[in-house]
Symmetry: C2
Subunit: 336 residues, 2 copies
C-alpha cells in the first residue's frame, strides 16, 4: 500500500466538513444532504480516493478474503473448482487467497495457519493425500474461521463438506464395464488415507458382487498418485497370470500414466485393455484413445456449493449448522 494516498481526513478538511460526514456520504447514508453527498463524491473522484480497506476490516472485524487450500492448482479439477468458488464469492465482494498443499500435510497445516494470520473470513480446503487428521482444521474454527471441505473431505470431521457420490460413480462404472462384456476388472485406486479411495473400493466391490463376479485381491492396487507408482502398479497388474481386461483408475492422471505403460507393452487401448476413470478432464477429448468412459464429477459446481456454504457460515456464524452436500456424478460413455 501507498504512502501519500488520499484519506477521508483530507477530503473532510478540503470540504470543511467532518470525517463522519464524508464517511456517511460514501456509504450513501440516508441522513445526509444531497449537496454534501455530491460534493464529497466529486472530490473523491477527483482525488482518486480509495477507502483504506485495512482500516475498515479492523473496524468491521472481517477482511472479505477467503482462503482456499488444495493439492495442486495444475490439476484441472482443482482449477475448475477455484473458478466455481471465485464466481460465487466475487459478486459478494470477496477475494480468494489460494495456497497449494502439494499433497503434503505440513504444507497444508502451514497454509491454514498462514491464512488465519492473514485474517481470512473463512477457508475452503481439499485435503492433501497425506492428511489423516483434522486437528489443523479445528485450529481455524477455534479462531472463529469457518472451514468447509470439498472433494477430498474428512467425513468424520465436524466441518461442512461437499463431495461427489464416488461410491455410486465407481459402481456405475463397473456395471458399465460388465455390461460391455468385461469381467476381469482391476482397480487402480488412490492412497488409503483418502476417504475417496475407500468409496471407490466399495463401489467396485459392490458392483462385482451383485454380478456374482469374484473379487480378485490382486486386481486391487493402491497408488500414491505419483507417476512412478502408477507405472509400477500397472506393470504388476499386467504381469499377472491373468491380467485384467479393464481398469478403473482413481482419476484421469492415473489412467493416462497407466495407459502409457500399456501402450509401451504393445497393448492397444480400448481393444486389449480398456479404461474408465474419474474426472473427465477436457484434454481427454484430444486423445486418440481416451478412456472408454469417464466419471464427471463437476468440480466447478462443487466449488460453487462449497463457497455458498462458506458464505452462509460467514454471514451467520451462529445459525449455520454442519452441512454435507453430495454432488451427483455422471458416467460419460465414449464407446467407439
Amino acid at each position: 500500500m501507498a504512502s501519500n494516498v488520499p484519506t477521508m481526513k483530507e477530503i473532510a478538511k478540503r470540504l470543511g466538513v467532518s470525517v463522519t460526514t464524508v464517511s456517511r456520504a460514501l456509504q450513501n447514508h440516508p441522513r445526509i444532504g444531497l449537496r454534501t453527498r455530491e460534493q464529497v463524491h466529486a472530490l473523491v473522484q477527483q482525488m482518486g480516493y480509495v477507502p483504506n480497506s485495512t482500516a475498515i476490516y479492523l473496524k468491521k472485524k472481517c477482511t472479505f478474503n477467503i482462503g482456499v487450500v488444495l493439492p495442486f492448482l495444475t490439476e484441472q479439477f482443482f482449477s475448475l473448482a477455484i473458478s466455481g468458488i471465485e464466481d460465487t464469492t466475487t459478486p459478494l465482494g470477496y477475494s480468494v487467497l489460494v495456497v497449494q498443499s502439494r499433497n503434503n500435510f505440513e504444507r497444508e497445516r502451514a497454509a491454514i495457519t498462514s491464512l488465519i494470520k492473514h485474517g481470512v473470513d473463512g477457508i475452503i480446503v481439499s485435503v492433501a493425500s497425506e492428511t489423516q487428521t483434522y486437528l489443523h482444521l479445528d485450529e481455524a474454527q477455534k479462531h472463529g474461521v469457518p472451514v468447509v471441505l470439498f472433494d477430498r473431505v474428512i467425513k468424520r470431521a465436524p466441518n461442512s463438506c461437499v463431495y461427489s457420490d464416488i461410491m455410486v460413480g465407481a459402481y456405475e462404472a463397473i456395471e458399465f464395464l460388465i455390461a460391455n462384456g468385461w469381467s476381469r476388472i482391476a482397480l487402480l485406486n488412490g492412497p488409503n488415507t483418502l476417504q475417496a479411495t475407500e468409496e471407490r473400493l466399495n463401489g467396485y466391490v459392490k458392483a462385482l458382487q451383485e454380478h456374482r463376479i469374484p473379487v480378485n485381491i490382486h486386481y486391487i492396487k493402491s497408488v500414491n498418485l505419483l507417476r512412478e507408482d502408477t507405472i509400477r502398479k500397472t506393470n504388476e497388474l499386467l504381469n499377472l497370470p491373468e491380467p485384467p481386461q479393464a481398469i478403473l483408475a482413481f482419476h484421469d492422471y492415473v489412467a493416462l500414466d497407466a495407459m502409457q505403460v500399456c501402450k509401451e507393452r504393445g497393448l492397444h487401448i480400448n481393444k486389449d485393455i480398456c479404461f474408465v476413470s474419474f474426472s473427465n478432464l477436457s484434454f481427454c477429448a484430444y486423445l486418440d484413445h481416451p478412456p472408454i468412459a469417464s466419471i464427471e464429477q463437476f468440480p466447478y459446481e462443487m466449488g460453487q456449493k462449497a463457497a455458498q456454504i462458506l458464505m452462509a457460515a460467514i454471514a451467520d456464524p451462529d445459525t449455520a449448522t454442519r452441512q454435507e452436500v453430495v454432488i451427483k456424478s455422471k458416467l460419460i460413455q465414449r464407446l467407439e
Copy 2:
C-alpha cells in the same frame, strides 16, 4: 474473523503488564526482561493467541498480500506460473490473491480495482487478449501499488515485465521445420492485440526470409483463442489449393484443436502435416502424436522472476526501476 479471540490487551491484563510489553515480547524486542518474555510466550501459547493482522497492516501500511490477475487458471501455463509466484512470495510471508480475467478486459479492470480496494501490496498481471491499454494498470501505480507484467505483457507500458523471447522461439521453430524438409509452413497465430502475436509473426517471417522461402499471406491466420475459431481457420488452411505441410501454432491448445481438425479430415499427424507449438504442456506427453516440437517457455520461472521483481519493488519503492526480463525459451524436439 472471530468474535471472542484473545487480544494483546487480555494477555497484558492477565499478566499485569502493559500491552507495550506484550507487543515487545512478541517481537522479541531486545529491551525486554527474559522472564517477562517467557511468561508472555507461555500465555500466548496457552490462549492460542494469534496477532490480528488487520491491525498490524493498518499500522504498517501493508497487507503482505499480493494480487495476481491472469486469463485462465485452467491453463497449465498459468497455474505453473502461480506456483512460481507462490514459491517466491510465501517464504517472505506474502499470500497470493488470484483473479481470472477470462481474457475479458472489463473483468481485468474490475479485478485490479478490487485488488487495490483489498489493499494488496503489489500486483502481477498477464493481460487479457482483449486488453489494449494500460490505463487500468496506472490506476494501481497511482495508489502506490507496483505492477509487474508477465508473459502477456504490454511492452510500451511503464511497468516492469518478464516475458520469453518469443520471436527467437518462433524463429528457431521455423528453422527446425525447414531443416527437416518442410517449406510450406503456416502460422496459426493469436489475436492481433497481443504483443506475443506480433513477435511470433516476426520470428516466422524472419526465418522464412533468411531461407529464401517466400512468405505466403494465406498461410498466416489469426485466431481468437476460442476453439471454434481455431477450427475455422485450420479448415481455411487445409482448403487452400496448396495446403501447408507444417503449422506453427500459437500454443498447445490451438495446436490440439487444429490437430483434431486434421485428423477428422483424414490427415495423419506428423506424416501428412506436422505441428510445432508454444508451451510444451505436460499432457502432450500422453498424445499418440504430439506436436513434433514444442517451445518450452518456463512459466514457473517466469512467475518466480515476476514475483522477485515485485518483492523488490514493494521492499524499496523508491529505488526500484523499471525492469524488462527475458526468459530464454527452448525448442523441445520430438522427432519420431
